[in-house]
Structure formats: C-alpha cells, structure tokens
Symmetry: C2
Subunit: 338 residues, 2 copies
C-alpha cells in the first residue's frame, strides 16, 4: 500500500538501518551511499511514516495551540507569532479551535494528548479547569493566555490590562470627559471581566464617576446595540469605552448613523488593536494587546518547560498600551481655553 523504508533500502541495496541514518543524518553515511539512498527515496516518492517514527521515539515534535475562534480577528496574529516562534526552534504546531464550545474544547485537548504534543497553549475561557489540571498532572506543559485569575497549577502568561486602562482613562480625563460609558465583553469571559476591573479601578483612581455599564458580546452587532441604548440616554455619554475593537466598530457605526460625529460629539475607545482598527473612520483609538508578544512568549514558555521538565515556568506579564488615533477628542461642553 504505502512505500516503506524497506522499499527504499532494497532499491538502494542497503539495510533499512542505513536508510534511516541517511535520511535523518543520525550517523555518518558514505557520501556515495547516501546519494544512492536519497535518489531511491525520491524515485519511489517516499515519505517517512510519522506514526512509526513517533511511536518508537516516544516523542513528537509539535506543540499544541488551542483557541476559541479563528474568525475572530484577534487570533490569527497570535497564531502566527506562536507558529513562527515554534518553527524557528524546529517545531510544528497543532492548531485546534473550540468555537466557544466546551465539548469541542474537550475534543481539542484529547487530540493534543493523543498526538503526544510536547506542550499546549490555551487561549479560550470556556474551559474545564479540571481538564487543564489533568494535562498538567500528566506532565504535559501547559500555559494559559487568557487568565486574569492566576490559577495555581498552570503557568500563565499574564496579560496586564492596568497600564492600558490607566492610559485610556487618563487620556479621556485630559480631554475633559466625565460622562463615560463602558460596553463590556460577556461576563462569562475571564479576560472580559479582567479588563472591566482594570477600567473601573482606573476610573476610581482618577476620581471620575462610575460609568454606565452595558454588557455586550464582543461583536460588532453587540457594540452597535449597546451604543443605541447609550445614545438614547439623557444626558448621553461623551465617551464610550468598548470591551474590544469589534464592539467599537459597531459603536462608531451607530454613532455616525445617528448623525453624530466622532470624536466631536462622542469619543470611542476600543481594545485589542486588531489590524482593522487603523482603517475605521475615524481610525480607532484603542488599548493595544500585543498579540505577537503573547504568542511568542507562550511558545517560549512551553519550550522552556519542556526542556527543563519543569511543570511550571516563571510567570510572564505582557503589558497593554493605549494607542491614540482619531476616534477620541475633546469632550463636548468642555471647551476650556488652553
């Protein structure tokens, strides 16, 4: 059925042992012999059998990455960073998505384990803590990227929202905003509530009043709907913070459709800094989450754990940062002379 090493060996008139060594460069093979072998392999269209190889070596060479939704523009950049970090070190990556479904999440973990990945990174909140525990008890390195609450048992890459949040609020305050509204992500998502808390705290520290809060769904439509409610209020907010950029896009749209101007009438701030944030009109001011760093660190951390056989690695923190574009401006009715 398939072409085996022994076929190559026969054609090159050597033993399978030699073929193996020639192909993997695991032992010196006479130049002439090696050539003969490689030629035979090419002629026969031979590809190593990964399972046989993995079976006997007991160790594969790929790391797993589990994310929730590939269509969410947040993830691709993360995936790419993880992937290229892995490739740089000579590893493959096995990608699974959960689509926010805990059953699929379970399958994803199972697939990872059955394929004996060297470690797995997870960025998805809908997650049985128990499963992760098992994973770790198994000795498989794991990192979570989504966690605000630092679970003890798994190494995390902590995403620190406080800096970005602080900068966002300071920015708004400097522009004279006081009536600030906040469209959060779904409260079921850890990262969403972490961000919410960071914003609330920054607001408090700045001595600004509590914001009006509406729970959104981190999608364009959710942001749009929430914004409609906000605009109907009286007095309406002069600035709207959104749980992510997608929601902010919805906000932008609704505000402008209502005949109001951004940022003259209402300022908008997103979160994530997805690629499109710079192409909205006006370009979106947003709290940047450095996904490339996140992805790289995730891999590096896993890699270290794998090498050192440690169950946990040093906790890393990556910082958010406000990037100011054109969707924020001086608050209406705060025409201070300057």
């Amino acid at each position: 059925m398939q072409i085996r090493m022994s076929d190559v060996a026969r054609r090159a008139r050597v033993s399978v042992t030699t073929v193996s060594h020639a192909i993997n460069s695991t032992r010196p093979v006479a130049q002439e012999t090696r050539d003969r072998i490689l030629r035979a392999a090419r002629e026969l269209n031979y590809y190593r059998n990964a399972s046989a190889r993995l079976l006997v070596r007991g160790q594969g060479d790929s790391f797993g990455l589990i994310i929730s939704d590939i269509e969410n523009p947040f993830f691709p950049e993360l995936i790419k960073a993880f992937q290229s970090a892995a490739r740089e070190s000579g590893f493959d990556v096995l990608l699974c998505t959960t689509n926010y479904d805990s059953d699929e999440a379970r399958k994803a973990i199972q697939r990872m384990m059955e394929n004996r990945v060297l470690g797995v990174a997870l960025m998805t909140s809908q997650f049985d803590a128990a499963l992760i525990e098992e994973l770790v008890n198994n000795g498989t390195p794991a990192v979570r990227l989504d966690s605000g609450l630092a679970k003890r048992s798994v190494s995390d890459i902590r995403l620190d929202y406080s800096r970005g949040a602080g900068q966002a609020i300071a920015h708004l305050q400097a522009l004279g905003h006081r009536r600030i509204a906040f469209v959060t992500g779904p409260n079921s998502r850890v990262s969403a509530v972490t961000y919410t808390n960071a914003i609330l705290q920054a607001l408090a520290e700045a001595g600004l009043p509590e914001p009006q809060i509406i729970e959104g769904n981190n999608r364009v439509e959710g942001g749009a709907e929430a914004t409609r409610k906000l605009l109907a209020g009286n007095p309406r907010p002069t600035a709207i913070l959104c749980g992510n950029d997608l929601a902010a896009v919805g906000a932008l749209q609704v505000i402008q459709e209502a005949g109001l101007r951004v940022p003259e009438d209402v300022s908008v701030i997103g979160c994530d800094d997805i690629a499109f944030a710079r192409h909205t009109t006006p370009a979106l001011t947003t709290v940047r989450i450095p996904r490339d760093e996140l992805g790289r660190h995730a891999f590096l951390s896993l890699f270290k754990m794998h090498n050192s056989k440690a169950r946990r690695s040093a906790k890393l923190t990556v910082e958010t940062e406000l990037v100011v574009r054109r969707s924020t401006g001086r608050a209406l009715g705060s025409e201070v002379l300057s």
Copy 2:
C-alpha cells in the same frame, strides 16, 4: 513514561484486547466490564497513543488544508467552513500555512504526507506544480481552490469570477461610469490574473473603454498607493475597482483623505467580501467570494475522492456575486434625468 493500554488492562483485570474493544466500541463488551475499563482509564489518565493506532490501522482520520496566510482575513472563514464540514463527517483537519514561501509550502506538503492525511486541499498559488503532481501520483486526493487555469492532474474547485465581474461592470455602467480604473492583485497570483481577465472581458462586452490598470499587492497600503496615483491623474477615474477588499479599504481611505467623497466623487468596488467590508465607511460594494461554499466543497470533494478511491472528482464551480452597498453611486457628471 506514558500510560499504556496494558496499564489500563491490568487495573481493570482484563486483556488489552478487551480494553481496545471497550474504548473503540469495535466489538461488544459486557456492560460491567466496559464500565470497569473506562473507569480505570479515567483514573489512570489514559489517552490513546495516536501513532500506535495509526500505525497499525494504516489510515488516519484527518484531512489537510494548506493556505498561504492566516492573517489575511480571507482565509479564516474558509478554514472554518472546511473544518466544520470535516468535523461533521468525523474527521480532523491538519492546517499548515506557507506564508507565500515555496520552501514552507514544501514543508507543509511533507508534513501532510508524513502524517498520512486522507487528502489535502490547497489554496495558495506559490506552488510547485511538481509537488502537487507527486501528491496525486501517490494516490493522495488533492484539490486546488485557487486555480483559474485548470491543471489537468488535480481536481479543482473552480472559482468563477465572470458572474461577479459582469455584475460589477453592469452596475457601474448603469450608474454612468466610463472612466474606470482597476487596481489588480499581484500578477504572480493566479487568482488575481483570473479576476483581472474576468473584469477586462466584462468591460469589453459592455462596450466600455479599456481601464487604467495599476498592479497592487492585495493589501491596504498597496491599494492606498495605487489610488494616490489614480487620483493624481487627469481626468481622474470616476470608479475604482480593486483586486480585493483590503486594497479597496486603502482606496476608500485615500480618497476621503484627499477631501473627495465616496461615492459622490469616486465609486469603489472591492472583491472578496471579507467580514469588514460591511463596516467600512461607506460600506463597501464588493464582488463576493463565497468562502464557506469553497471550504465545504473542498472537503466534500476530497471526501468523495477518498471514499471512491478516485484520483479526480467532478469539477465544481462556485460563483461570485456582486453585493451592492454604499461605496458605489452615480458617476460624477452624468446627471441624467430619469
């Protein structure tokens, strides 16, 4: 090191054979015994060894998908469609990206083959035809999604641009446009030249003059740059067609930054209909490529080939279609009374 079936067997006091059958439901096992086995497996944290399984069965259960760039918003939707079609039929998918690099492409194919995928779908132009040939000669089913030129040897899902192109041109013509410019994708990309040809033909059939053509790169910056050139021309075009939506976004931006209005001064039409196309301002009129259909058909086609052991399957065609939004309007200086 790892936990084997024999460990589970010992703990449940049965043979490995029975464990295997209990876990895979491949042969009846007494309810009581099965329970004992599954419990033991759970207690021991047992995961099947995929390699051993695959090795002996000779057949895996995943299909491969190779794309060029995960950050291009065109792809995620395609991936998802492919994935969910696969999952519905009980298969996994192995995803690889090439990043437009033919060396990585080679590695991707190799990974697919080494892992004995049941078939592979490719959407990436930078491709050694030779590699694909091999693949097919190996007996591994393959489909290309990017192909305008129908290679003989591989089954294709043909993407028919002519309908969408025709509709786009008709739409523009109806609005009174005659000075039409076209920002193409890179000429190295098959799909790009296919689209270009479709547009050119539609233009000719409509009796419209040849358009001014600028080669872009299918990215925002490319579209922006090309548009700057176009705007500097005299007379400037009243409508700009773009090779994809990303470029169209760049066009939109440049036009509006130049103080012109879309669509009053210049109309813009994109291609792809990425998720963000409906959220640009104004919302983008574009030639939709049905990525979900593309992904689904790709899998289905592979699946069929795999089942029937056929090397080729019926050629499918998926149609593009114009979706009209707000970035197109009546041509300047064509105020016909109606």
